[in-house]
Structure formats: C-alpha cells, structure tokens
C-alpha cells in the first residue's frame, strides 16, 4: 500500500487544535479537521507508512491498535472521497 500523501494544490493551517484545509481547485472549498484529524494530516507526508502512522497514534493518543487502525482507515477514506490525497506519487510500504 502507498504511503499516504497530501494532494498538491492544497493549503492548510493549524488553528489551535484544528486544521483548516483549502482546496482551490474546487472553488476554494474548505475542509476542517478535528484534533486527531489534524494530527494524522501532519503525518501524511508520503514518507510515513501506515504502520508508522499507527504507532504514532497509539503512543500519542493512548489508544489500542485496533481503534487506531479503524480511525486511520476511516480518516484516509474521508480524505480520498474528498480528493485530498495524492494518488499519483508515493513510496510503497
């Protein structure tokens, strides 16, 4: 599976615990991430594998691996649906 990587042409800012993402390809569409989403988003650099992301989440948020897996899959699915993940590049896990 490819390492998750944020799509190009997005801009984002962390505002407190939340992150706002702008997608100028779609008329300045704005997305919003909560604290966990903001945390995961920072890790979607294309350099972290899914297991790297999971290990980080488990240790920083004190949750079990099963919950972390589910949270990550749900989050990545959401990003894919909104075309916020780069589908062209990425290294293999």
């Amino acid at each position: 599976m490819t390492n998750p990587k944020r799509a190009q042409h997005l801009s984002w800012r962390k505002l407190g615990e939340h992150t706002v993402i702008l997608d100028s390809r779609v008329n300045q569409e704005v997305h919003h991430l909560n604290e966990v989403g903001a945390y995961l988003w920072e890790l979607c650099t294309g350099e972290n594998s899914l297991s790297d992301i999971k290990n980080n989440l488990v240790s920083d948020f004190d949750i079990d691996e099963g919950t972390a897996d589910k949270d990550i899959m749900y989050f990545l699915d959401e990003l894919r649906t909104k075309s916020l993940l780069d589908t062209t590049e990425g290294t293999n896990e």
Partner: protein, 350 residues
Amino acid sequence: MSKKDPFFKTHLLEKSLQYAFKNCIPLVSTIEITQTCNFKCSHCYNYDRTGPMPKATKDNQMTKEQVYQVIDGLGELGALYINFTGGEATASPHLEDYIAYVRSLHMEPRLKSNGALIDKEKCEKLVNAGLGGVDISLYGATEEVYQDFTGIKNSLSTSLAGIDRLKESGVDLHISIIIHRRNVHQLSEMIEICNQRSLNFQLSLEVTDRYDDSNGARENEITSEQFIDLLKGPYKEYFNGKNTEKAVQCSCARSVCGISSSGDVYPCIGAPIKSGNINDTSLVDIWKNSKELNKIRNIKETDFKSCQTCDYIESCNRSSGSVYINTGDYTGCDPTIYKQAKIKHDLSSK
C-alpha cells in the same frame, strides 16, 4: 488595485477567521511586491500615476530576498492566504517564484491584478507555479471609459483577454468591479461582462486618497445623486446592505496584515499606518510587539466616539482604513461615508 478580499466566506472559513481575529493570526495577508504598473489609473492609491514614480518609492522597493523573508515571517505567524498586489503584481519578474514559494509552505497564493499582462505564457507560468486564485479589477465596459480611467489604449480588451485566459485555465477567478464617477452608468454592462463568463464579482465604491498624499484620486468618487440612483436602481441589493449589528471594528492587525513594497508593515494593506519596517526589525517581531499594531488591537467599540452616537450606524459600512487614509483618524468618520450612510438611512425609512 482593489483593496478588498474577494474569497467566499464559507461557514468553516468564517470560523477560522474568527479564531484568527481572537488570537491575532494574520490569516489573510497582502504583500505589495512592486510599484510598477502598466496602467495609470486616476484613482490609484499608490501615487499620482500621471507623473513618474517618486524616487523614494522606486529606490526603497523590497528585494527578492526580503519578499522571501516576509513570506517566511507570515508563514511563522500562521497566515493562510498570501495576496500579491502592487502596483501591478504581474509586472514583477519574480511573481512566479513567490507563488511557488508560498505554495511550498502550504499557504494559498493569490493575486490582485488588472489582468492586462496575463498573456498565454504568463498564465501558464502562474498556474504551474501553483497560483490559488486571482482577483481582477474591472474599470468599465467600453474602451473609451477604460482609457479615460487607466490612461492606456485598448486596456479593456487586454484586460478581458487576461480574464478569459485565466478562466480557461480553471484558476479560481473573481472580478472586482470598481465603480467611479465616470463609469457608474456602465454598471449593468460590467455585470454583464461577468455574467457572460459565469464569473463571481463584487462591487466596490471605495476610492481613497493616495498614500503619497497627492490630490486627485477622490475626484473619481461617485456623487450623491449617483449613489441615490444606485440605491434605487436594478442592482440596489448590492448597495443596501445593513449593518444591523452596528459593527465598527475591522480585522486590522488581527486576522489581516499588509506589507508595503518598501517593507513597511501595516495593520491592513488598506490602512497604511506604519507599524515598523522589515529593514529594521523582523516581521514576526513587528507583528508581536509593534506599539501601533497593539494600539489598534486594543481599540474598543466605545473608542469610535462619533459612531456611538450616530443615527446612521445601521446604514454605514465604514472601513477604518479608508477613514484613516482620508482623515488621519482611524476611529473617526469621513464626510463621504457619512453622506452615503445618511442617504441610505433616509431612503430606507421613507
């Protein structure tokens, strides 16, 4: 160029702006990257463009490295939108580099332009560099009126060609229709230009004095009679907005910041209160510690003394920056704003 910010305020963006306002994060920042322009607009707020560029303005323009430093500083302070303006921003040979740099820092590079220098090659370069959006000013609907205003032949057709190229490229595009005394009769044609191309537009009546204190810019301001016609005309809904919350404060020095081409830091590009210069102090330091910026942040509603007792406040959409430019008093009132608020109030209560 228009000083207004054109982007849509979605619910989420609105929340972000509120957060930025509360926490003094310059989410929407504007940098003047050049004073050069291909037009000579009579309303231009930079300087009197019928003459040459003042020597000090010319000599003190920021270097490319300084613009990069400013972008770095804005990134550190939490900016999201970086608007490039001028002069005419596309006249800067470094614009594409700046856009790419802003993009590499995950901020949103936008452009304010008159559109006329955006030929096919320029358009491709801007888009490839990662341009997020453009706001083009429209000054009329015929060559004659355009030339009367910009001082340049064929400036309407070159601007429209730029607009059409940008539209075709798919970049987020907005038009600011600048209404003045000698083009107000073409408002419906200007709106038609936007509608034909399915472009979002905003209308601006604002004309301020020039930043170099030269006279003449405000002769372009619409007359009271023209304002009354607008309020009664087919586009009246654009001008009849109410200030029911009686708001008087702007986003200056809180969620917006402006940096002049000479490196002066302003609370907003439309409020040229010199609050430090990046030649002397870093932008981050100025933003956090400037006494001018902190003074503006500490202004309370009750400091707007004349507004507190004004009968027309609900019909007024004052901009503190414009009032400051025209009168020197940030919390004061300006005769034109007062006149227009009164006309609006009187007409709506009839």
